[in-house]
């Protein structure tokens, strides 16, 4: 899922300075699952915003709402008009939601309430870890299912760098070297031969370096 975290309160207070009426808009997609922008977090941010404004002696009306998703146009439909009633809509969806509101809802001022951070897995309650970089050119069939693009600090394609010591990455002793993990996994699966193949220089265009990505499926188009 997409992982996000609430922006620092001072940043949110700064971007809403002088505003009298805002809508904190949550999303029940990924950000709800990672406890960053669902119903509960909407309530917390709204209350904190009111409290922060109270301390500075300024009043603000904060309304709360949460959509099923903010990345599908049908859910944003009501916001096209209702969003104009607010000085701003603070979206607690990932950056996709913020962008999509900006695109779809002309006349609505949308602000990000969270920082969108990575695609991650939920290791345990309250702990998420990056597992995919959305690079658009998956090599997991060659690497035992472990991603060298997302999980290697240098996104190396052909084995570890000299900073891999004792199975750990040089950037932090708490970070496992994914190439060590790939080696161990392939050895266990008896697919060591994969490591003998030299992966050519990666084409980063599918990763977005060729401009914003777009996918079209003709069979689904209306």
């Amino acid at each position: 899922m997409i992982i996000a975290e609430r922006k620092p309160m001072q940043e949110i207070l700064g971007m809403t300075a002088g505003m009298k009426k805002v809508l904190v808009l949550g999303c029940r997609g990924c950000v709800a699952v990672c406890s960053a922008g669902g119903d509960k977090e909407v309530s917390i941010l709204s209350s904190a915003l009111r409290l922060g404004r109270k301390m500075s002696g300024e009043k603000i009306e904060v309304l709360e709402e949460t959509y099923v998703r903010q990345c599908d146009p049908e859910y944003l439909e009501p916001l096209r008009e209702s969003g104009k009633d607010y000085d701003a809509v603070i979206s607690m969806a990932c950056g996709v939601g913020v962008n999509f509101i900006a695109d779809c809802c002309r006349g609505v001022r949308v602000l990000p309430g969270v920082n969108t951070t990575f695609y991650g897995a939920n290791l345990s309650s309250g702990e998420w870890k990056e597992m995919c970089a959305g690079c658009g050119s998956c090599v997991l069939h060659l690497t035992g299912g472990l991603c060298p693009v997302a999980r290697c600090a240098k996104s190396l394609s052909n084995g570890p760098c000299g900073g891999s010591v004792g199975g750990k990455c040089e950037i932090n002793p708490d970070v496992p070297c994914v190439w060590q993990g790939i080696y161990d996994k392939l050895t266990y699966l008896r697919q060591e031969q994969n490591l003998r193949e030299i992966t050519p220089i990666r084409d980063w265009r599918p990763a977005g370096h060729g401009g914003p990505r777009r996918r079209i499926r003709e069979d689904l188009l209306s």
């Binding site: 620092p8 309160m9 001072q10 509960k40 309530s43 209350s47 904190a48 409290l51 301390m55």
Partner: protein
């Protein structure tokens, strides 16, 4: 300047579980153990307490909020008071972000049926916020 703005009887809200708060706030007030502005919210378990309830309490009139749950290793629901403690810590973080003294919220632990720790906590919280610039001016 701050002293001029402080209030003598700040509103204190306590969230207590059924097991740690055996008396109600009216009885404590009648006995003169807590001030008139003390409010006690009883929960089945402090583990049920949500972060937003503490923030809303501060937003809606309280100058300080505290939570009293079971002793950590004696929680009736095993981990309820521990969860509450983490949520109190989370609220403290938000208050710091807002430049509000995190000492306005606190977690206390008490044995079953003990009233004294709740009374002591109320006094301590009142002492902490007396002299602070009030949230609700």
């Amino acid at each position: 300047m701050v002293a001029e703005m402080s209030i003598s009887d700040p509103k204190i809200i306590a969230f207590c579980c059924n097991y740690t708060a055996s008396v109600d706030a009216d009885a404590l007030k009648a006995a003169g153990l807590v001030s008139e502005n003390f409010e006690l919210v009883r929960l089945p378990c402090t583990g049920r307490l949500e972060v937003v309830q503490i923030l809303d309490a501060l937003d809606n009139g309280a100058e300080a909020v505290f939570v009293t749950g079971c002793l950590v290793d004696e929680c009736h629901n095993l981990t309820g008071s521990r969860r509450a403690s983490k949520r109190v810590q989370y609220v403290k973080g938000i208050l710091e972000e807002l430049d509000i003294d995190p000492g306005r919220v606190e977690m206390f632990f008490a044995g079953r049926g003990e009233t004294e720790p709740v009374v002591e906590a109320a006094r301590e919280m009142k002492g902490r916020v007396t002299g602070m610039e009030p949230i609700h001016k």
